[in-house]
Structure formats: C-alpha cells, structure tokens
C-alpha cells in the first residue's frame, strides 16, 4: 500500500512540477486573499497583526479547496480515473498518495503565506516549532478530508460548487485548532498550544484513517 502511495504521490507531484498549476494559480490566489483581507480590514496593523493567524488559515483553507479540485482535475483527462482504477493499485495507497501530494503542495503554499503574513500584517514570527507543527498536522487533516471529499464529488457536474460546500464546514476544527495554536506561538506562549496541536493531530489521524477505508468504494463507482 505504501509503495502504491509513493507511486501516486510521485505521479501527482511530477504533473505539478511540469504544469506548475498550483504554483502559478493557487499560490497567487492565496496571496491575493491575504491582500484582500488587508484591504477589507483596513491598513491598521493593530487590527491585522492579532488577526494574522486566523486570516492565514482561512487563506490556506480556501486554497486547499482549489488544490483538491486540481488534484482530481488531472484525473479526468483521458479517462485517467479509469486507468487508475484498472491499474491494480491499492485504493488506500492511491488515497494516501494523493493526500501526500496535495499536502506537500499546501505546505509550500503555507511557507509562502507565512512570509506574506509577516510582511503584510506585521506579524512577529516566533515559536517556529509550534508554527511548523501546526502546519504539518493541519495540512495532514486538510489533505485527508480534501481527497476523500474530492473522490465524493468527482465525476459530478456540480462538483465545483459542491466540494467547497461539503468541505468547509467539516474542517472547522482544523481552522480553529490551527488558528489557536498559531495565536499562542505568535503571542510568545507556544507552550499553551499543546492541546490544539493534539486536536489537529487527532483530526488528521482520524480522517486519514477514514479516507483510507472509504476511498476505495468511492473510487469504484466514480
């Protein structure tokens, strides 16, 4: 299963490296969202800096939806989905592979946004370990749920509007946990973030497990 996951992950990342869609489209979108928030909330750094964590994670969440849609869009060309099904790869492996690829893309995105948040909102970056830990755990959860729901809406004509509707309310705990963890880190009290990191980790493990089991049946009738 892990071998299949590595194969699929590699394939997805290679497609991304060649087409650079995430880099050229999703990352600029995320940066634009940050700028939009800045415009909406006003240039006063006293307002933006405390809100930086929340705004960061909302931007990540919105970008994650796009990244997941892209991940499944590459499968719809040339009946690649059928090819995937017939290839004999373990569906759990396909799930983990796609989740890992989307996760990697999101981590790169988060790196860029971290710099953006520091520059645009004047957030003082500290507690780096907690910041990174939250990013890893939250991204794992987002990727897991995202790929699962991507499979659920793939092949449907309304998938572009359905996927965000299904995904966004579901990942509220991730948004909450990641924002709080980042808040503690940025405020200089990273030790208080422990519980939130645990919440993120539990969510990630839970939904990666659910996805591993549920992805197969969903893929079969896509």
């Amino acid at each position: 299963m892990l071998h299949d996951a590595a194969l699929v992950c590699g394939k997805d990342l290679r497609i991304e490296l060649r087409s650079r869609v995430a880099l050229n489209q999703v990352v600029p979108f995320a940066v634009a969202v940050l700028v939009l928030f800045g415009l909406a909330l006003g240039p006063d750094r006293a307002v933006l800096a405390p809100a930086a964590a929340g705004l960061f994670w909302v931007a990540v969440l919105l970008s994650a939806v796009l990244a997941v849609q892209r991940s499944f869009a590459v499968e719809s060309a040339d009946d690649a989905r059928d090819g995937l099904r017939l290839s004999g790869l373990d569906p759990a492996g396909i799930f983990l592979g796609k989740a890992a690829a989307v996760g990697a893309e999101l981590l790169v995105l988060e790196g860029v946004l971290t710099i953006g948040v520091a520059l645009l909102y004047g957030a003082r970056l500290q507690g780096g370990l907690v910041l990174a830990g939250a990013c890893l755990a939250a991204t794992a959860g987002l990727a897991g749920v995202g790929i699962l729901y991507g499979a659920m809406s793939t092949g449907l004509r309304v998938k572009e509007t359905l996927l965000p509707l299904l995904l966004v309310p579901l990942v509220t705990p991730v948004l909450l946990g990641a924002t709080k963890a980042w808040d503690e880190a940025l405020a200089g009290t990273p030790s208080r973030a422990g519980g939130w990191l645990l919440l993120l980790a539990v969510f990630a493990v839970l939904y990666l497990a659910i996805g591993t089991v549920a992805f197969g049946p969903l893929l079969e009738d896509a």
Partner: protein
Amino acid sequence: MTTVLAPAPVRSGTRSGRWRVVAVRVVGAAALAGVVLTVWLGLWVTPQAVGFGNLVRLLYIHPPMAWVAFLAYGVASLASLLYLWPRTRHRRYDRLAGASAEVGVVFTGLTLVSGSIWGRPTWGTYWVWDPLLTSTAILFVLYLGYLALRRVPGDPEVVARRAAVAALVAFVDVPIVYFSVSWWRSLHQPPTIDFTGRHLYVHGSMAWTLLLGFVSFTLCYVWLMAHRYRLAALRDAEADAGLSAAIEERRAEAG
C-alpha cells in the same frame, strides 16, 4: 376515507399497509394535540420564571427543537451506516437517511432561529458564539451539503453511497466541532454569562410543559418522517417505473 390519501402503491390494500396509515394518523393527531397543549401551557398557564420573566416560555420551544435536530441527525447517520453495511444494504435505509436529513434541517434551522430569538433579549445580541449554538450552525451547513449531494443527478446507487459516506463523515465531525468550539470559548470568556440557562429553576408545571414539549415535537418529527419517507418511496417507484417503461420501449423497438 377519501381515496386521495390511499396508502402508497407499494403496499396498497394489505392489512399492514392500512395499519401503517392509521398509525401515522394517530401519531399526527397526538403530535398536533401535544403541540397545541404545549403552546397553551407555555404561553398562558405556566408562571414566569425568577430572573428570566416571560422569556422562560421559549424554553418550551428551543430545547425541543435542538433535541429533534440532533435526533434527526442521529437517525440519518444510523440509516447511512445500515445502508453501507453489506448485510443490511437496502434502499429503504437510504430513503430513511434522506428523509431524516430533510426534516432535520428544518428543525436545525428552527433551533438556530429560536436560539437567536432567545438570545436577543437575554444577552443583547442575536448571536453569541456559544458552543452548542455554533455547533448547531455547523451541523446546519453540513446538512445542507448532504442534501445538495443527494440532489445531484446520476445513478441513484452511486449518489446514495456517496451521500451515506458523507453522512457518516459528518457524524464523526460534529462532536469534534463541539469539543473544539467549547474549548475555544472556555479560553476566551470566563463563564460570567450563563448560556445554557442552567440557573433556571424549572419546577412544577414548567417541568411538565417542558417534557410535553419534548414529546410533542418528537411526535411531530415522527409524523413528518413518515410522510417524507412515503414521498421518497413514491418517487423511487416512479423512477423505477420510468426506467422499466424505457427498457420496454427499447425492447419493442428492437422488435
């Protein structure tokens, strides 16, 4: 009785079919009677509460709404599980899940509205980020997503299976949402404002009315479910009949 309300074509004329119709009628009558009684008791007979005044009268409405909302969501999740489980896979569970979700979304919306109406005079705002109310709001959106997924055109079995998975994923998520929101709230706000009305001293006629409220609205749920389920069964039968007719036409064309 009038023929317009004849039992569903699937089980027309059988004894169990007629009993089912009678049972639903009885439940409906009981629900109506219960609700009317609750309203009468709630608005006029029961006394005002210490500190809350007349606002306590909303207590007979709001908690029952919330209870039914979560009951409906539990039923939908259980039905989805039964549908996915190979040994109990049957379309009736899919219909049950869909019916419960549609009825549930109505009650969830009413929970939010009644909670909001309770909140305005009590805490001064229409919305406080109370863990229970916030989780209910998320549940509301999850329901809407589920119902949207069910409406997607396509092979009914595929849609049913996807919807069932979505229902179960949401079922697992709601406790996590509730937990994370209540933790978030406990950090921000020292509990000086009591959101749940725990300090409300409910006794005597108030307690009985509250109980009646719970029972009556649960009966409403059952009655609404029975009708929504029947509607789903009729629609499925219609779709199947349409499919059979189309197949017959193809066969006739082929000669």
